[in-house]
């Protein structure tokens, strides 16, 4: 054992000050690299979630449009049919067209509420990008 002179006074397994410094340097280096990898993964996840959200957003948009238009059409058709039966053209058509519009807005509000619930359930209420926190 041709070690440095002070090594003989230490318990087995203990490090010299230089060794400890090197070791701590490696630990903090590793910590930094892990942090980088984690950050990169988070960014990937966020991008994935954004893409999924955009696809779903488009589907929701189409759903909303169909919801409103369908009710207006159904209202108009009912009014037109009643006019045709009762011979009261065009009054019932006008009335039911407006009622159809009201029903469409009702549909919109309902599906919006449902969408909101689904959304909060699937994301825990967080929207879009994760904003870096400057407080710490």
């Amino acid at each position: 054992m041709s070690d440095s002179p002070d090594k003989q006074h230490r318990a087995p397994g203990e490090m010299t000050p230089e060794e400890r410094a090197k070791f701590e340097g490696r630990v903090s280096d590793l910590g930094g690299r892990l942090g980088e990898i984690r950050a990169r993964q988070h960014a990937g996840e966020d991008a994935d979630r954004d893409a999924a959200m955009r696809g779903r957003g488009m589907a929701y948009g189409m759903r909303m449009a169909a919801e409103l238009v369908a009710a207006v059409i159904v209202g108009g058709v009912i009014g037109w049919a009643l006019d045709w039966v009762l011979g009261s053209r065009p009054w019932l058509f006008l009335l039911f067209f407006l009622l159809g519009f009201a029903a469409g807005v009702l549909n919109l509000m309902r599906s919006y509420e449902r969408m909101q619930r689904e959304f909060t359930a699937s994301t825990g209420g967080k929207i879009g990008h994760r904003v870096p926190d400057n407080d710490d």
Binding site: E67, A70, A71, I73, V74, L99, A103, L106, R114
Partner: protein
């Protein structure tokens, strides 16, 4: 320019005339039969092994089962599983039809409103029958919300009835419009590539619509799945209304 609507043409493969009704076997019927055969073949192969540790194909079958079962349990609850065969069949049929439509040259069954309207009508009638069978006249509570002052109740009820009747319309139009629009867009962009290639020096631009067409194809696959999902999801919600009309 190639006609973007041409792909939706229906032609008779085997003309059949039944008591004056035209019930010919068309290309649309062919692809519906194909969808059923593909589904049947897939699930026969996938469930043949019945292994405790599933193979890849078996886990696909199990995932699709769990997917629909979860949807039902989430929106209706345990008793919703009674509708599982119906809802699962709907989901798989629409999904497979949409996916078959993504094969170049194939016919997209769900891009015809008569098909989606028939599917939506089945759902609508199921809701009516189940609703009245389960709740009797209490089913009408669906149209009479709680806590509405008596003097505007007739108006609100009328609006609720129109809203209820509009369901099968929006249910069918959504699926049909998405599939139709997507396939037309794809065809139009494909047509641009061909037109640019035939336009002399403008041919250098032809990769641009080609790239767009590739991106749109990926989007269309997403839409094909998403619309099958949305249709099934709404079916679950409507069935929930049939079982619990009070909300």
């Amino acid at each position: 320019m190639p006609d973007p609507i041409h792909q939706f043409d229906i032609h008779r493969l085997v003309p059949i005339n039944l008591f004056g009704w035209d019930v010919s076997f068309t290309n649309s019927s062919l692809f519906m039969v194909l969808a059923v055969l593909v589904t049947f073949g897939f699930f026969m192969v996938a469930t043949r092994a019945r292994a405790l540790v599933p193979s890849r194909i078996q886990s696909v079958a199990e995932i699709s089962h769990e997917f629909v079962a979860d949807m039902l349990r989430d929106s209706i609850g345990k008793e919703g599983m009674k509708f599982f065969p119906f809802v699962f069949a709907l989901f798989i049929f629409i999904f497979v039809c949409n996916m078959l439509g993504m094969i170049p040259g194939a016919f997209t069954v769900t891009s015809h409103i008569i098909v989606t309207a028939a599917l939506a009508a089945i759902v609508f009638l199921t809701v009516l029958v189940v609703g009245f069978a389960k709740n009797g006249l209490r089913f009408f509570k669906l149209f009479v919300p709680d806590g509405v002052p008596i003097y505007i109740l007739p108006l609100v009820t009328l609006i609720e009835i129109i809203s209820f009747l509009s369901r099968p319309v929006s249910h069918s139009v959504r699926l049909f419009a998405n599939m139709l629009a997507g396939h037309i867009t794809l065809k139009v962009f494909g047509g641009f590539v061909v037109m640019l290639l035939g336009a002399g020096s403008f041919a250098v631009l032809s990769p641009l619509p080609l790239l767009a067409a590739i991106a749109l194809t990926a989007l269309e696959f997403l839409v094909a799945f998403l619309q099958a999902y949305v249709f099934t999801m709404l079916t679950c919600m409507y069935l929930n209304d049939a079982l619990h009309p009070g909300h």
